[in-house]
Symmetry: C2
Subunit: 197 residues, 2 copies
DNA sequence: ACACGAAAAGAACGATCGTGCTATAACTGA
DNA sequence: TCAGTTATAGCACGATCGTTCTTTTCGTGT
């Protein structure tokens, strides 16, 4: 990997952390330069525009998300076990962020009414994520662990709701029982998906 | 009401809409002045600082929230009926926002790691809101509609999760079935709160 | 209707924004 | 090691930021 790619990656990693804290829009080039110890123009030379940087931040985060959350789940056995790994991996991913939590969660409400290519990229990522949850839940159906009339999209919606709630309880409210809360809600969700409607 | 109070209120109403769209931090005085047709300094004279304006926006929004969401619920009969009104009123409140949705939801992820008096005010409001949900759920317990070992805080957590998810589905994903989704999730929540654990 | 206080505008401040252009410094392949 | 590319810094730009001041306009009580 050339020197350019190396620093470029370092910038993206740092930018991801900053963006999670102050938002993709709130983040500024100057602020980012200060954090990385580079000059504003030296840093900026790696990207075509701030908007392009924002999109690359999302791409970079997505790659790490797949590595740390999706891949472990796909290596677990199909069914509820895989769903558990997916969920636990997400919680771990979210907790691992020193500040700001999951960037996708933060960006979701920041960009929800700000049209443009950044929002479009985020929408694609979020759709993929919901689809992934639904697909994994589907393996629990085909394994006979979930009832076979389960609405997979509705299940994904409700599981995703827990991730949003966890970020809220953990990051905003600093609820010491946040982890316990989200796990109990998850178990309740799984239990009811297994019983007949 | 004097002229000053009148425009001040008009500013806050407009500012609430702007803040819901671009965030409490993303909103600027100049932008706000343009939206209200006032000069920057004329508008700014009504507030001590931008931070003070942000706090007043939250206070103003809170007042309207109590009027439009909390009060109707308290006028409904105790129990599940009251809980339904509370939830339906929130959905109506959220849908009524032309853009950006519920300001509290938007601000929650924006301020979750930005310490200061604005965050503190928001945390108080969100705690009050969760407490309100738990209290209303409690009336359903004492009316015998919910099982009496129901964890009220956990119930509030899960109901609140649905409001976050609805904003996500409705505003970001523009899911045409968002309303249907959130209602089904709500019914499911109520049903399970009524059955023995 | 007039005077006085309140409300709004005008103008300017230092700072920082995103973004170019130009020069220097640092890598890299022959 | 030297040439040539690539990466970074320096500097400046117009615009806008939050904020303060002074001046003008307007609403209001008598």
């Amino acid at each position: 990997m050339s020197k350019g790619d190396e620093t470029r990656r370092a910038i993206l990693t740092e930018a991801t952390a900053v963006a999670a804290r102050v938002g993709l829009t709130g983040m500024t080039i100057g602020q980012l330069a200060a954090h990385t110890g580079m000059s504003k123009s030296g840093l900026y030379a790696h990207f075509a525009s701030k908007e392009a940087l924002q999109i690359e931040i999302l791409r970079h985060t997505r790659e790490r998300f797949v590595d740390q959350v999706v891949r472990p789940a796909l290596q677990a056995p199909r069914g509820v076990a895989r769903l558990r790994v997916l969920f636990d991996s997400w919680v771990t991913w979210s907790e691992a962020m020193e500040e700001g939590g999951c960037l996708f969660v933060a960006a979701s409400s920041e960009l929800d009414d700000q049209p443009g290519p950044v929002r479009d990229a985020l929408v694609r990522d979020e759709r993929d994520w919901l689809e992934m949850i639904a697909t994994v839940a589907g393996t629990a159906v085909s394994e006979g662990e979930f009832r076979d009339d389960l609405d997979l999209e509705q299940f994904a919606y409700e599981l995703h709701a827990l991730t949003l709630a966890h970020q809220h309880a953990s990051r905003l409210l600093r609820d010491p029982h946040a982890l316990d809360r989200v796990h109990r809600a998850f178990e309740s969700l799984i239990t009811h998906a297994g019983q007949p409607a």
